[in-house]
Each structure stands twice: as structure tokens, then as C-alpha cells.
């Protein structure tokens, strides 16, 4: 039997993205955030997740997509990685999809810049492409922090 993988999908600026379902801790509606001054731009703030303090990352900024309209509230996809839980801010949550390995392809060479490191590849779904995030990399902003602190 071909191995089939499950992805939690969501939308950003009309594009379909997916993260491995096993990485996802939970999905939440928009919650209030506390700003973190001096933090890198991709850090939207801190969220209280039942007593756990979770850093929220604006995926649009991380992927260098245009800013979300001010009246649209983002949703939280909380993922777990080595550095603890991180919340990814997305526009809208999609379905959980199951895909086979055969539908996977590397990102095209023409995809350049910082984004290339974050996007692992694409799955060819019927009618659209699902961008697969490299979750640990998507949650990363430490390098940015360093430069930020040295600059200031």
C-alpha cells in the first residue's frame, strides 16, 4: 500500500498551504495577542494558550506575502516543534487532506528567495496545488532576532 499522509490545510492570500497533521497541536479562532516590542517583524505577539505562552508568527510576513486586510482576523494553527509550541497566523482554515507520495514535487527552480527555504514542496491536488511548509523553518525567527539585537 502506498503511504498516505495527512495534512492540515489553510489559506494565505488565496494560496493553499499544508502542514503535517502530526505537527499540529490545535487550531484556534483569533485570540487577543500581546505585542512584543523589539521583536522581529514576523512575530505578531504572544498568546495565552491555557497557561502556556505561545509565540504567534504571521505567516504572511514570513512568506513575504502582502499584509492581511486590517478588518480580517487571522486564525491560529498551533504547531509543536523543538522550541515549544508556536502559533502560525493564517487567513482561513481548510480541510484535512490525505495525499499520496506520488503527488509530491519539489518546488520549481524558479521559486527563489527566502521563501524557498520555508516551502518544502507542493502536492498536486485536483484543481490546485498545496504548498507544504517546512514546519521547523516556518517557526524560526531566531536568526532574525540576532540581527535585530545587534542592530539596536
Amino acid at each position: 500500500m502506498i503511504q498516505r499522509l495527512q495534512f492540515c490545510t489553510f489559506y494565505l492570500d488565496g494560496l493553499l498551504f499544508g502542514v503535517r497533521l502530526t505537527d499540529v497541536q490545535e487550531v484556534m479562532r483569533h485570540t487577543e495577542m500581546t505585542l512584543v516590542p523589539l521583536a522581529p517583524k514576523v512575530v505578531s505577539g504572544l498568546i495565552n494558550l491555557r497557561g502556556q505562552i505561545v509565540t504567534a508568527i504571521d505567516l504572511r510576513r514570513k512568506l513575504e506575502l502582502p499584509e492581511r486586510d486590517a478588518d480580517k482576523l487571522p486564525m491560529n494553527v498551533v504547531v509543536n516543534n523543538d522550541a515549544g509550541a508556536v502559533s502560525l497566523l493564517v487567513d482561513e482554515i481548510g480541510d484535512v487532506v490525505e495525499v499520496g507520495e506520488e503527488a509530491f514535487e519539489q518546488p520549481p527552480e524558479t521559486l527563489r528567495g527566502k521563501v524557498r527555504g520555508v516551502i518544502f514542496g507542493v502536492y498536486k491536488l485536483s484543481g490546485q496545488l498545496m504548498h507544504v511548509l517546512d514546519t521547523p523553518k516556518a517557526c524560526q525567527f531566531a536568526d532574525v532576532v540576532e540581527t535585530a539585537t545587534t542592530v539596536v
Binding site: 487577543e32 495577542m33 500581546t34 505585542l35 512584543v36 516590542p37 523589539l38 521583536a39 512575530v43 505577539g45 504572544l46 498568546i47 495565552n48 491555557r50 497557561g51 502556556q52 505562552i53 505561545v54 509565540t55 522550541a83 515549544g84 508556536v86 517557526c139 524560526q140 525567527f141 531566531a142 532576532v145 539585537t149 539596536v152
Partner: protein, 766 residues
């Protein structure tokens, strides 16, 4: 290795580590009291347990070491051998070897390949020598050994098994047959001489989790209380009140589970002291007081290294050699005292010795040599200030300093580590009588009292330990109360200048909005202390004080200005400000400049306690400036037309000499160097007469041209603030005005006029 085995190894490791720690203590205690059979039996059993278990788990090398050690110990136990320092040393070495192998097992699962041949040889040799020693020992200690020995042993062994309620008896014990011992010990493999204790071992993770959950419960309780206060429902009120009480109590109890007696850290010190003392050929007795004083686990861990360092230091440098001590009329053996006690919500830990004490003069001399303080200033320091110099970074870096000063390696690290957990270090010393280092630390780090403030709409928590006071300026005084020292805002707090830091500015928040609010509503100043410096933090609003649960920020989100985050009563997150980090960010405690300015200011303060006479004058840009009158030779006024040019210098003829002239506005701002010529012309044009302060500088007269001489006054300059620009000593309030004290020698030095003066002097000789 199966899971069961892995579990067993883990348990074995935990237990063995504890046993080894006890061994350290017991062996050192035994050395003092070699006849103590109970202690010996305890040591024997511990080694025996380790041996048995590792044999069962298949750690052959470890078993071998333990086995040989056990053989030696059995001789000691039976009184056939007397414990000598040599034997103790070898036994301690064995403990170390076992510990090292255990850590190897912990990390790799294997025993490692450390070479224990020497140790084994030593152990065997001592064991073999027992035969010869035995007769001697029998002759020497005939009174003690014969009857009590066996009886006490059979007694204790017989009594032990029924008493023993070990919650996890080692299967290994039952399985492993006794290879060596004469049967007496076989009945009680892992028994301890202590009565059964009613404790169970719980993972730290579980406790932390409990703590988190209780924190959550407290938050939920707060929300419930808020809600129930709004609702008219007697039933709900009653329930929420009860809930309130229970949650508070639960929180206190859970907090206690994290508390540990400080004795846990201290227990390793007898061994440390013994080793260090042996290495330097000293004799030291250690005394402990207040072992049971409890501290949060995280703090215990954080102070372990600093304390160890201080203890080592005391033995290494504090306590003298036995001969020296005898010569000075002290007992041969030095005394090291550890004391812990609660005081004002903090824990005090004192490490005292009865050694030679710190040498004030050498410390001072060293500090001067290393450029930490100026010669003049050092003469005015009190003893305590001198002693505390040893905590300064840089004082301790060079090896030589350690030997000479008596103390030093890493004292600054000790201080930094203690301060990191919100504590303080202080040292007191009496020459010839000893030194006491006092460490003050908070009880817990997990929950701290904090002041909640608002800035640009978000709340921030400021740990109360750094908080000194709160000041509110009403709208009117807010505009007048904040003065500027060359652009840096200050506030006069009871006559002292307090540097001000705008929180929104440091956090790079929106400026306009905040600015407007401030003008309308007045200003809140939170007076904080960081590294001995005070500064005022301007915030939008002061909310209240509350106990907050400190939670770390994500690993990636390490910003020096924040110490962590906490969850407020309404469930929102607030960041905790790191006062030290903030102060550094705002340059309140800039490392390089701070030392200099603090020193200068300190120097100036001491100089200023008496009244001095100042010459007031107006500097560039109408700045109020002053110099002490006694630094001036004369005041003169020259017509601008008398100024002549000599090479690169502007000069005038004065009393038959050539007087170089320096314009103050040029001297104070390096960038204007190139515009010097034009400047003189300008001033020539503007003022038909130049007002000149004639000073003696290195045997030459130099004239300092100022805008306008104002007055000569007598005043104290107790109100001071470090300088904001070069060429200025400090700022002070003179005659009710913030005035900059000009540093004349520095100005001449910086302007290079002295070199020119010399050239000129040479020319004149020609």
C-alpha cells in the same frame, strides 16, 4: 536493552548518585571520628548496594571497583584496619571513579573505558597491608574493637530488615548472591541506618506541570471572582469564596513542593573543603547553621556554583596555613562557617572564615594598577567599598591578582550569577579575624511580586526587587520638572538628578500618541535601580502590584529587555521587563562609560561635601558652566584686536609672555576643529573684548576664552549627574541652576594645547 532494564538502570543511577553524595559526607565525617561504627556500616552498605546492583545489571568494571572498595571497607568495619587520611583519600577517589562511570552509563549506557588500574592497585595495597596493620591496630585499639564491634553489627543488621520499608526493593538485591561479605550484611542489602522516611520520589517535570496547572487555576479563580462580583447570586458568591480559599491554599502547598532545604547544596561542601584544604596543606573545619532553610529548586540550582566558588575561595585564600595560624595565636585548624536564615522575605547565606581577612591596601593597590579606580579616589574609599572592589570584572582576570589580593578569580562571575536571580553579594572583612561574604537571594523565582504598568496600551510587569519608588508629576510640573542635560532628560528627585528613560522610546512604540497623553495627564515615573544606579522609567499608567507567575519566553524569542512573560488576571499575556537589560539598553549602566562617570561623579561627590567657590560663566550656546575657582590663576579681559596668530595657535601677549588661547566652544566640540579659525574671527567680531580664564597647565599658562563671565559663588554641589560630553566633569546644581562643571585639564589635553605649548616653549628658548 529492554525497557524494563532501562528503567532499572535509571533507578539504579538515581539511587546510586544519592548514595554517593552520602558517601562523600560520611567518609569525611568518618575521618574526624574513625571509630564511628554506625557511619562505617553505612558506608559499607552503600558500596555494597552499588556493587550488588551493577553486578546484576552487568556493569563488570564498576562492580570490580566497588568490590575492591568493599573488601577494604569490610576490614575497616571489622576494626582490623583504622581509617587514616590516606585510606580516606583512596576511598574518596573510588567514589569519584564510581561517579564518573555512572555518568558514563547515564549518557552512553556503557561503563566507559576510564583506567582504574591505579585506584584498584591502591585499594588492594591498602587491603593487603591490613594484615600487617591488623596486629598493630589490635594493639593500638584493643579497647574499642573487641566486643562492641560484633554486637553492634549483628544488632543493627538484625534490626534493620523489619524496619526497612523501601518502596522499591531492588530485585537485583535478591537475585545477587553475596560473593564476599561474611554473611552479616547479606540480609540488608539496600537498607539505610536511617528510619524509614515517608517520602516518595516524584519527577521534577510533574511538579513543574502541577505548578503550571495551579497557576492556571489561580487565573480561573480570579476570573470567577470578577464574574461573581457582578452577579447577584448568593450561592455563586459562597462557592466562589470557597474556591478562592482552596485555590490559594493549594497554590501555597504546591509552591512548597518545589522548596528544598539549602542543606542539599551544602552537603557537598565538607568534601569540597576537605579536598581544597588537603591540596593547600591547610586544616579546615566546616560548620553549618540553618541547613533546613528552604529555597525554590531553581534558586538552589542557580546558587550552587557561586556558593561552591565562595567556599573554595575561603579555604584557598581566606584561611591561613596551620603554622601561620599558630603564630598568630589562632587554633591550627581554620573554621569555615556557613549560615542561612530568612530575613524580610529573602534568604541570607553567609560564608565566613576566620582567616587573615582581606588586605585592604593590596586590593586598593591592585585596583589602581589595573586602572579600575583612580589613586585619589581610592584614598577616599571606605573599607567596605574597597572590599567590594573584588567583585568588579577585570579585578580578577589576571592570575597574579589572585595571589596578591587574596581573592579574586571569578568573583565577578559569582556576583553576576547571584544578581541574575535577583540577589546581592556583599563582603565584610576584619584584618586578622576573617572574611564574611553575605549573599541575599529571593525565596522563589517562579512567583514574584511585580508592579504592573501600562505603556502604549500594553501592560508590562516590573519585578518589585528593582523598584524603589513611584513619582507622579501633575501636568504642570511635568513640563517644568523634567529638565534636560544636553538633551538627556533628568528629574530632580529630592535634590538629586535622576536620569529619565521613556519606556515607549526604549520599546520603539508609536511616539506621537504617547507624547500627547503625557502632556495632558502628567507623568508617572517609576524609580528603578539597576546595578547600583538609579533611573526613572516614564510609563503611561501605573496599574497595581500583584504576584505574577513568571513564564519563560520561547527559546527563540530572547530579547534582553524582557525577563519573561506572565498571564494577567484577564487571561492576557504581559511581558516582564528586565530592569538590568532595560538599563543597559537605555545606556543608564553602559559598561565603559559608567565606570568612568561613576568614578568621576564619586570623586566629585566626596570633593563636594564641603563648600567650594565656583566661577560661573556662560559657555557655548548659552550653557551654564562653572569651574572651581582654585583651578584658575587669573581672570583677564583682552581686546579682540590683541589676539595674534602664532603658527597654528591663537595667542596674545600677556605679562611679557605669550599666552595661548583656546576657545571653549571649540574645545567642547571636536567636530568644530576645522572651523577654529573662523570661530575666532567670529568671536572677535562679536565681542570687542574677550573674557579669558587664565589657568596654569603643566607649568604653562593657557587662556580659556569663554562667552561671558557671570559670577563667583560659594556652593556645595551635592546634586550631581554624570557628564554627557567630553570635557565636562559632571553636572551639578549651583545656585539653583543645572550647571556643567568644566574639566579644564581634560580640555587642554584633548585640544593638544600642551604639545603646542611645549613647541612654543621650545621656540621661545631659541
Amino acid at each position: 536493552m529492554s525497557i524494563d532494564d532501562a528503567e532499572m538502570v535509571k533507578e539504579f543511577l538515581t539511587e546510586s548518585y544519592e548514595n554517593l553524595d552520602r558517601l562523600d559526607r560520611e567518609l569525611v565525617a568518618l575521618e574526624k571520628e574513625p571509630q564511628n561504627r554506625d557511619a562505617l556500616a553505612g558506608v559499607f552498605r552503600t558500596i555494597h548496594t552499588i556493587k550488588g546492583t551493577c553486578g546484576f545489571l552487568g556493569f563488570a568494571k564498576l562492580e570490580k571497583v566497588a568490590h575492591v572498595g568493599e573488601n577494604l571497607l569490610s576490614l575497616l568495619r571489622d576494626g582490623r584496619l583504622l581509617l587514616t587520611p590516606e585510606i580516606t583519600t583512596v576511598l574518596l577517589a573510588m567514589v569519584d571513579a564510581i561517579r564518573q562511570m555512572l555518568s558514563e552509563i547515564q549518557s552512553t549506557g556503557q561503563e566507559g573505558d576510564a583506567d582504574n588500574t591505579q585506584l584498584l592497585a591502591d585499594l588492594t595495597r591498602l587491603h593487603a597491608s591490613a594484615a600487617t596493620v591488623a596486629s598493630a591496630a589490635a594493639a593500638n585499639v584493643p579497647v574499642v574493637s573487641p566486643e562492641p564491634k560484633h554486637e553492634s553489627f549483628t544488632n543493627s543488621e538484625a534490626a534493620a530488615p523489619p524496619l526497612k520499608i523501601d518502596e522499591a526493593p531492588k530485585p537485583a538485591m535478591a537475585a545477587k548472591p553475596e560473593p564476599t561479605s561474611g554473611g552479616s550484611a547479606s540480609t540488608a542489602p539496600s537498607a539505610s541506618a536511617t528510619p524509614p522516611n515517608e517520602t516518595i520520589r516524584v519527577g521534577v517535570n510533574l511538579l513543574d506541570r502541577l505548578m503550571t496547572l495551579v497557576g492556571e487555576l489561580v487565573l480561573a479563580r480570579n476570573q470567577l471572582l470578577q464574574y461573581s462580583n457582578r452577579v447577584e447570586d448568593a450561592g455563586l458568591q459562597t462557592v466562589s469564596q470557597r474556591m478562592n480559599l482552596i485555590a490559594t491554599e493549594l497554590q501555597e502547598e504546591v509552591m512548597k513542593t518545589r522548596m528544598q532545604p539549602i542543606g542539599n547544596v551544602w552537603s557537598q561542601f565538607p568534601r569540597t573543603v576537605r579536598d581544597v584544604a588537603a591540596a593547600c596543606g591547610k586544616e579546615v573545619n566546616i560548620e553549618m547553621e540553618g541547613k533546613e532553610t528552604e529555597l525554590d529548586k531553581t534558586i538552589i540550582e542557580a546558587i550552587k556554583d557561586p556558593l561552591t566558588h565562595l567556599v573554595r575561595n575561603s579555604v584557598d585564600h581566606g584561611i591561613e596555613l596551620p603554622e601561620t595560624r599558630l603564630r598568630n595565636g589562632k587554633p591550627r585548624a581554620g573554621r569555615l562557617t556557613l549560615r542561612a536564615f530568612h530575613e524580610g522575605g529573602q534568604v541570607n547565606i553567609e560564608i565566613g572564615d576566620d582567616g587573615a581577612g582581606l588586605n585592604r591596601d593590596r586590593i586598593r593597590q591592585k585596583a589602581i594598577e589595573r586602572g579600575i579606580i583612580g589613586t585619589e579616589k581610592s584614598a577616599r574609599l571606605t573599607d567596605r567599598e574597597v572590599f567590594n572592589l573584588i567583585f568588579l570584572p577585570g579585578f580578577s582576570t589576571a592570575e597574579k591578582v589572585t595571589n596578591v589580593s587574596g581573592r579574586g578569580v571569578g568573583m565577578d562571575v559569582v556576583k553576576t550569577n547571584v544578581e541574575k536571580i535577583g540577589g546581592t553579594v556583599d563582603v565584610q572583612s576584619v584584618a586578622g579575624q576573617g572574611t564574611t561574604v553575605r549573599v541575599k537571594i529571593p525565596l522563589t523565582l517562579a512567583i514574584i511580586p511585580a508592579l504592573i504598568v501600562t505603556c502604549a496600551g500594553d501592560r508590562y510587569a516590573i519585578p518589585q526587587v528593582s523598584l524603589l519608588e513611584l513619582v507622579r508629576l501633575e501636568a504642570e510640573p511635568a513640563q517644568n520638572g523634567i529638565e534636560l542635560v544636553h538633551g538627556a532628560p533628568v528629574y530632580r528627585l529630592r535634590g538629586r538628578l535622576l536620569p529619565l528613560v521613556y519606556l515607549w522610546r526604549e520599546l520603539k512604540m508609536g511616539i506621537q500618541k504617547v507624547k500627547r497623553e503625557e502632556e495632558q495627564e502628567g507623568v508617572y515615573i517609576v524609580v528603578l535601580q539597576a546595578d547600583g544606579r538609579q533611573f526613572g522609567l516614564i510609563v503611561d499608567q501605573i496599574n497595581d502590584t500583584q504576584e505574577i507567575v513568571v513564564k519563560p519566553l520561547g527559546k527563540q524569542l530572547k530579547i534582553k529587555t524582557f525577563a519573561g512573560a506572565s498571564i494577567m488576571g484577564d487571561g492576557k499575556v504581559a511581558l516582564i521587563l528586565d530592569v538590568m537589560g532595560l538599563a543597559q539598553r537605555a545606556n543608564v549602566v553602559d559598561e565603559t562609560r559608567d565606570r568612568g562617570s561613576a568614578e568621576v561623579a564619586g570623586e566629585a561627590v566626596t570633593a563636594a561635601s564641603a563648600k567650594r567657590t565656583f566661577l560661573l560663566f556662560t559657555g557655548p550656546d548659552e550653557a551654564h558652566m562653572a569651574v572651581p575657582l582654585d583651578t584658575l590663576a587669573r581672570l583677564e579681559e583682552f581686546p579682540a584686536s590683541q589676539v595674534e596668530r602664532s603658527g597654528t595657535l591663537w595667542v596674545t601677549q600677556y605679562r611679557g609672555q605669550i599666552l595661548p588661547l583656546l576657545h571653549l566652544s571649540y574645545a567642547l566640540q571636536e567636530r568644530r576643529r576645522r572651523r577654529r579659525n573662523s570661530e575666532f574671527r567670529q568671536s572677535n567680531a562679536e565681542h570687542s573684548r574677550l573674557q579669558v580664564l587664565v589657568c596654569n597647565h603643566k607649568g604653562h599658562r593657557v587662556g580659556l576664552v569663554v562667552e561671558r563671565i557671570v559670577d563667583i559663588v560659594e556652593d556645595t554641589t551635592e546634586v550631581r549627574y554624570p557628564a554627557t560630553r567630553a570635557g565636562v566633569l559632571c553636572s551639578a546644581v549651583i545656585q539653583g541652576k543645572v550647571t556643567e562643571l568644566v574639566d579644564i585639564p581634560a580640555i587642554f589635553q584633548a585640544s593638544g594645547i600642551e604639545n603646542m605649548g611645549e613647541e612654543q616653549h621650545a621656540e621661545m628658548v631659541h
